[in-house]
Symmetry: C2
Subunit: 341 residues, 2 copies
């Protein structure tokens, strides 16, 4: 027994140990989704995320429509990370008693906009009054059209690759938190970065394509930041990694925002979180086929950023000369004095 | 568009209208559970509930272990109300940064205690820090072993019946809110009432038995209070009702607590909420078979309390002489100045 403060990781481990193995559960706590077998041969993915005002967003800059969109998006991203097809969503919303019908309707419109893009049906939910700001929980159920891609199956020698570009969401958050600081920043970079933070586009089509293509050995979505999420693959797969920082596809908008604010775009790319890109590992001889095929099929680039090593290598980040560079972790709940926004 | 304050009902209607019909959805928003078809012939029930500190419970009297138990219980009750078999739960917990590992462990132990009783596996979840007290969301997935029992299928002439006894939870809440007020109240009545509020026992076995028995035409669980929940059956089925107040099975403990506090046990039974008993309708010639069979199979009594009328009758409450008595609704979110606890 302990009166110590828990970490997010220690909480998850605590639950994992306490929850006994059960029938119909292929994958339980510890991956992006649970993998369930409601009936023989039918494989269901299930994921849930709780978003709180002033932890995950601020009402000062996130409109109800953005909150509705994003609360669904982060769950669709979990389904995408397993290569699945999202089908149904349950949405629970608690908002302050002084919320207007227009604000509530805007929240639902935001969620339904994104649901419609991915043919997801909102099939249930819950509403309540909240004494302390907005609280939203979304659960998404999906189909695993192929064997789901897990975090725990990366192998030494695999290439590490990432979809899209990195650092946009953290750059957007920096702008939203201090909108006057960036001075003459171009409107396009501003819109790209803030849009990525407020309305992330989950890589659902990309996830399904990658799941079906074959050759991907492990996959996760980038919610907590590259350093933390790669750490999950390392831990669950029992491997090490080497990532070459100069190969990271840092977003042009993140570079522009960083220059305007005097911040470090590379740090946003490694540790900023909420990019909702897919991070995957694959056999070296599959990489070119996957990168070319994904871009052709979806328009989304795939970039190799490093390789999986044996566990003794740990989690290494190197510059162009191979010199090791220290990189901090991404977002972690329960780290005193730090909150997500 | 409207700047008016929404009601819980108006919010649900708003979502229902906005969410288009979709493939694989037998029942969407508006019943206790969504009824889904992940694959042909396989029927999945899904339900979600968000519980907030100072709305649904107070940390002053609800220990973490109670919160864990109850957050799962209210969802199991939704599965029970459709006659289903709960299988899997996803649990999202946000708690203040100063929570201890022991408190977090106690929350999970409470949820897992109840999960084990019903062979439910906790398969996933989410953890976050919260700036404003505890927030818990639980989603439960279950199997519909027979066609699920809905709210919308009651027919004029049906008997209205309820499992167990009523008013215990509201009596328990009154004691928890003002523990010194009840003076010489017996320990047994006190424990029965507060136990019912802190650790409700969802009628899962009863729901499955009733679903399998045949003859039940509609069912719902009593979460918001008999008046409100019967109102849901009335509205969804397009019927009216007449309930005889003297037939309500008011709990002995509720009567004892009411006497000690100078309160009205009958009002707790009609409008108190959170009893998590099952409210059902059945053909008159099925009632005796169901009542006898349920008590034999599960030990839980079933009591007839009134009958379903045509819609023009409205929602009538009568005393022993047939005289109409006004009864207020149960709990409603978004009613200014009133919160659940």
């Amino acid at each position: 027994m302990s009166a110590a403060r828990p970490t997010e990781r220690s909480l998850i481990e605590l639950i994992r140990r306490a929850a006994p193995p059960a029938a119909g559960v292929r994958v339980g706590i510890g991956d992006d989704c649970a993998v369930l077998e409601p009936s023989p041969g039918s494989v269901l993915l299930a994921t849930t995320d709780l978003l709180l005002e002033d932890v995950h967003f601020r009402r000062r800059w996130a409109r109800p429509r953005d909150v509705g969109w994003k609360s669904l998006a982060v769950n669709l991203s979990d389904i995408a990370s397993m290569g699945g097809r999202p089908r149904w969503a349950l949405v629970a919303l608690a908002c302050p008693e002084n919320v207007t019908t227009d604000e509530a309707a805007a929240f639902w419109a935001g969620a339904l906009d994104l649901a419609a893009e991915h043919a997801v049906a909102v099939v249930g939910g819950d509403t309540a009054a909240s004494p302390h700001g907005w609280a939203v929980n979304v659960t998404v159920l999906g189909e695993a059209v192929r064997p789901p891609l897990l975090r725990s199956t990366a192998r030494p020698g695999d290439v590490i690759a990432v979809t899209g570009v990195l650092g946009r969401s953290a750059a957007g958050l920096a702008l939203l938190e201090d909108p006057d600081a960036a001075g003459p920043l171009g409107a396009e970079a501003r819109a790209d970065a803030t849009g990525a933070h407020l309305r992330p586009r989950p890589r659902v089509r990309e996830g399904q394509w990658l799941g079906a293509a074959g050759g991907v050995t492990a996959m996760i979505d980038l919610s907590d930041g590259l350093a933390t999420d790669l750490g999950h693959i390392v831990e669950e797969s029992g491997v090490g990694t080497r990532v070459e920082l100069q190969r990271l596809p840092v977003a042009a908008s993140a570079c522009a925002v960083a220059a305007a604010l005097g911040r470090d775009a590379l740090a946003w790319a490694t540790s900023g979180g909420e990019d909702y890109e897919l991070l995957l590992t694959c056999a070296p001889d599959a990489y070119t086929r996957l990168a070319t095929g994904l871009e052709t099929a979806t328009g989304t680039p795939l970039t190799a950023i490093g390789e999986i090593m044996t566990a003794d290598a740990g989690l290494r980040w190197t510059d162009a000369s191979g010199r090791e560079i220290p990189v901090g972790p991404g977002f972690e709940h329960f780290v005193t004095g730090r909150s997500r926004v």
